[in-house]
Structure formats: C-alpha cells, structure tokens
C-alpha cells in the first residue's frame, strides 16, 4: 500500500471544509439572523458576529402571526399523506413483487413514468379535478395532491425493500394457511420495517416541503401550509426579515432532525438504488 502524502490529506480536508462551508453557511446564517436583535440585524453593512441576541422574532411569529396554524396544517397534511401513501404503497409493492397479474407491467411503467413526470404538467388538471370535487381550499385537497406527488416514489422505494426479502418466507406462511394480507402484515412487514420507516420519513419530508400544489390549492390562510405561509410573508410589502428567518428555522429544523435520525436507512436504500430528488 502506498503511503499517503501529508499534503494530500491536508488538501482533502481543506476541500471538505470548503464544501461544508458552502452547504452550512446559508443555514447557519439564517439561524443566526433569527436570534439577532433588531438593532444589529438591520445594519448596513451587515455584522458578521452579532453580539445582542433575542428570541423576539420567535415570540412574534408564534403569537402574532398564523404560523402555529400553518405549522399544524403542515403536520396534519404530511402525516395523512404519509399514512395513505405507505398503506397503498405497501399493498401495491407487495402485489407487484409477489404475484403475476395482467397489467402489472403497465402499472409499474405508469408508476415509473409519473416518478419523473413534471408536477408542472399535472398541477393544472389536478387542480381542476379537485375543483370539480369541491376539494380546493381544503386540507383534504392538499393531501390528495401530495399523494399524487409521492405515491409513485413510495411504490418504487418500498418495492426495492420488498424485493430484498426472499419469497420463500412468504411461501412458508402460505403453506401454513395464512392469507396474503396476514402474510404481509405478520411475516413480511416486521422484516422490512426499517425500509418502510425510512420511506415514510421521506414521504413526510416531501409533503412538508412541497410548495406548488399547496400554494394553488390553499386559498384562505386557514388552510395554508408552512411553506406557503412563509412564501407569502416574504412577498409581502414590507419584508420582515427577523420573523422570516425565525419561520424558516422553524420550518427546517423538524425535517433535518427527522432526516438525520433515519440517515442510516436512507443510505442503505441508496446503496440499493432508491432515491428521489
């Protein structure tokens, strides 16, 4: 084995540090701004190291804006989307990995096509369909739209986990007289729980972050998600940076924590070829 030159290692860490800075700086800068006192936040030129800190921005968005409602809406929508997608997704994934049936290929191709299909093509007809069903400006409408966005992804990701489980396991259960559903629930699911779990987290994050559909469907502020709520804050006439930075931090922290907690499963899934950007 060739010995590594010291310069090589130093250059490696230097490059890594550079990239980490590029990624972390905007987020750190937002978090810092969200706790910087007004007197030091609105200075030109900006201060790199503020010395006066405050939680006023958080207090203000929490008590004097509709942020708590947006937050709850996002939470409810993301949870409902996740549950629906995982249940329908796992049924579809199980059926398509275990059985042959007419139209199976068509179904898979359909799911794959919609996996890369532009949301920008779908949003208008989906919006019109939801209008027809009377679901615009409801949380249910947003959930339906988010299922559209995430479902194909759920099927593909869950399939990759189910494919890894040997069919013999199912067959043993069938021989013992278990129904297909019983087999799925008590034999297969326990084995692939980590996979299901990380898929669920991903759907949650996708829904939490989604903007286009939510912005079109939620008309009154009663039904806005946190992403849509912030977007309106930022395009409003006077731009209240302190509050916006606090809102941004509030919107970001949950998904980052969720993601870090399941990264292990995510990386495993990536190594098996299931990702979505």
């Amino acid at each position: 084995m060739k010995s590594r030159s010291r310069f090589d290692v130093v250059a490696h860490y230097g490059a890594a540090l550079l990239l980490v800075g590029f990624v972390a700086f905007p987020l750190a800068w937002m978090a810092i701004a969200s706790v910087t006192a007004a007197g030091q936040l609105f200075t030109s030129p900006p201060r790199l190291f503020p010395s006066e800190f405050t939680l006023d921005w958080y207090r203000s968005v929490w008590s004097a804006s509709e942020a708590p409602r947006f937050f709850m809406n996002s939470l409810v929508i993301a949870l409902a989307t996740t549950v629906a997608c995982v249940i329908i997704g796992i049924l579809s994934a199980y059926a398509t990995t275990r059985f042959e049936f007419p139209g199976k290929q068509l179904f898979l191709v359909g799911a794959l096509a919609s996996y890369v299909f532009p949301a920008i093509l779908l949003f208008l007809p989906v919006y019109l369909i939801l209008t027809g069903l009377g679901l615009t400006n409801t949380l249910v409408g947003i959930v339906v739209a988010h299922i559209v966005v995430s479902f194909p992804f759920a099927v593909w990701m869950l399939r990759s986990y189910l494919l890894a489980i040997p069919r013999e396991l199912d067959e043993a259960a069938w021989v013992d007289g278990a129904s297909y559903l019983r087999t799925l629930i008590s034999v297969v699911l326990p084995v692939c729980l980590p996979g299901v779990f990380s898929t669920a987290i991903f759907i949650f994050v996708l829904s939490w972050n989604e903007f286009l559909f939510a912005s079109v469907i939620a008309e009154s502020s009663r039904n806005k998600t946190i992403t849509v709520g912030i977007a309106e804050f930022i395009t409003a006439f006077d731009v209240r940076w302190g509050e916006i930075m606090a809102l941004g931090t509030i919107a970001t922290v949950p998904v980052v924590i969720l993601f870090i907690s399941v990264q292990r499963y995510f990386l495993k899934g990536v190594l098996e070829g299931a990702v979505k950007g």
């Binding site: 199976k104 920008i120 208008l124 972050n209 950007g277």
Partner: protein, 280 residues
C-alpha cells in the same frame, strides 16, 4: 391488493395527463365557463408567442448551468466522502442536508443573503465594486439568473453526490488493488478505474436530473417569480403564469404539454444514442 394503487395512478396521474392533453386543445373562457374546441390553435400560439424564444433561452441556460454545477460539485463531493478518512461520515451527513431542506428555506436564505441593504453576499459584492450601492444581484437580469442557478446547485448537488457515492461504493476493491500493483498514480486510478465504473450511473443520472431541473418550478418562483423583467422566466414559470396569473388554462396546458413532449423526445433520442454507443 394492487387496486388502491391502480386507482391512484389512473385517477390522479393518468387521467390528469389525459386531461392536460384535452385542455390544450380547447380555448377556455373562465368567466362564462365556455370551452371552445380550438384544435391545434394553442400550440401554434405557443410557438408564435413573442415570449417563446426568451423562455426557451432561459430554460436552456438554467438547465445547463444547474446541471454542470451539480455534477461538478456532486462528483467532487462524492470523491471526498468516499475516502476512508476520519470525519468523512460527518462531512457526508452535513453535505446531505440540502437534500431535505425545504425549498422555501433555500429561497429565503438566498434572498436574505442577497438583500440589497442588509444582505451579506450583496455587501461583499458591493464592497468589491461588482455591484452598485444598495444593489441586489436579484435585481439585474444576468446576476439574477446566476443567483437562481447557484441556489439550485446548492439544493441539488447532494443527490448527484449520493448517487455517485453509492456507485463508487459498488466498485470492487480488487480493481484498485490491481491498479496499484501496476503502479498507477491516484490520477490514473481515477481515470482508469473510478470513471469507467461510473459511466452507467451517469447516463441515468443526467436524464433524471435534466427532467427534474427543466421542470423545476418552486425555487425560481420563490426567489424571483421569473423576474426581473422576465430574465429568469423559464418554461414552468411560464405555465404557471398563464394558468394562475391569466387563467388561460387551455394555453397553459398546451405550454406544459409542449414541454413534456420535448422532454420525452429528448429522452428517446438520448436513450437511442446511448444504446447505439453501447452496441458499438
């Protein structure tokens, strides 16, 4: 068992695609709710729209710039985290973060840092004389486009990184050992072992990223809304503008279908070319 899944796909994906195609053939008057069959008029209008060349150009610059940026950065980052050095797992975790950060956060961080008066990046640019006093890069055409592209690269390079990293993890160690025995330098290892092993994933990655980048709406919308003066208005923004701004649903559908058809066509062309290449 598969029935609920089929229902979702048919009802909310296949039917909307069909509906988009149908809408694109109609002229829709929202006030009276009248739909008038317009044959291909909407499509003719898309290509004759005075906006068309500019939108096409913006879409091209946005996509090519974003793709180059995310592949260069993603590949470089993958090489970094693939090396077995202490601390690289932490680096990997941090570099993955943009992958889950909400777009709205990316957009507002960018807008905060690029704010003409209080923005730290604007300040730097102003101090170095690249920008006028209290000017924001988002306020002039070229720098606005550069800004949205950089923000998009920030957001999307982790995907490329992690895909390349996964592929690098899959390269058999023996290949590197063999190269070392032959006295290959690091550069030669990269050129003759790593790169050839990444060809397959690159072909897929470019296509996926191209699709997602061209059709990506949220970031530009939240950063510039297509401005200033349409300088960052790309194809999806145009669709949104016509649909939600002017309520010309038929026309918007025609623009969206044209975009999708163009992508499908380029995909088939690309798949065809790579297949021929491989056959040779």
């Amino acid at each position: 068992m598969v029935l609920p899944g089929v229902l979702v796909i048919v009802l909310f994906i296949a039917y909307p695609v069909f509906e988009a195609l149908r809408l694109s053939l109609y002229e829709i008057d929202l006030l009276s709710g009248n739909e008038r069959y317009a044959a291909l008029n909407n499509y003719v209008a898309v290509f004759n729209d005075p906006k068309f060349p500019r939108v096409l150009f913006n879409t091209f610059v946005w996509s090519v710039g974003s793709l180059i940026g995310q592949f260069v950065l993603g590949f470089w980052a993958a090489l970094l985290i693939n090396r077995d050095l202490p601390g690289m797992r932490l680096v990997r975790s941090i570099l993955l973060m943009p992958y889950v950060v909400p777009v709205i956060t990316v957009a507002l961080c960018a807008r905060w840092m690029l704010d003409g008066t209080y923005g730290i990046l604007s300040e730097g640019l102003q101090a170095s004389g690249l920008l006028g006093h209290n000017q924001s890069p988002l306020a002039s055409p070229t720098s606005a486009m550069v800004s949205v592209i950089i923000a998009n690269v920030w957001r999307s390079f982790p995907f490329v990184m992690i895909a390349y990293w996964a592929a690098m993890q899959g390269i058999p160690k023996e290949q590197y050992e063999a190269a070392r025995i032959d006295g290959a330098s690091r550069w030669q290892e990269l050129r003759f072992v790593t790169l050839p092993n990444l060809m397959a994933v690159t072909v897929t990655l470019i296509m996926l990223r191209l699709f997602w980048t061209v059709t990506y709406f949220d970031l530009i919308w939240l950063m510039t809304q297509g401005g200033p003066g349409g300088a960052t208005e790309h194809w999806p923004i145009w669709v949104h503008q016509e649909a939600m701004g002017f309520f010309r649903f038929g026309y918007a559908a025609a623009i969206a279908v044209t975009l999708s058809a163009t992508l499908m066509l380029s995909w088939m062309l690309y798949a065809g070319v790579t297949r021929i290449r491989r056959a040779q």
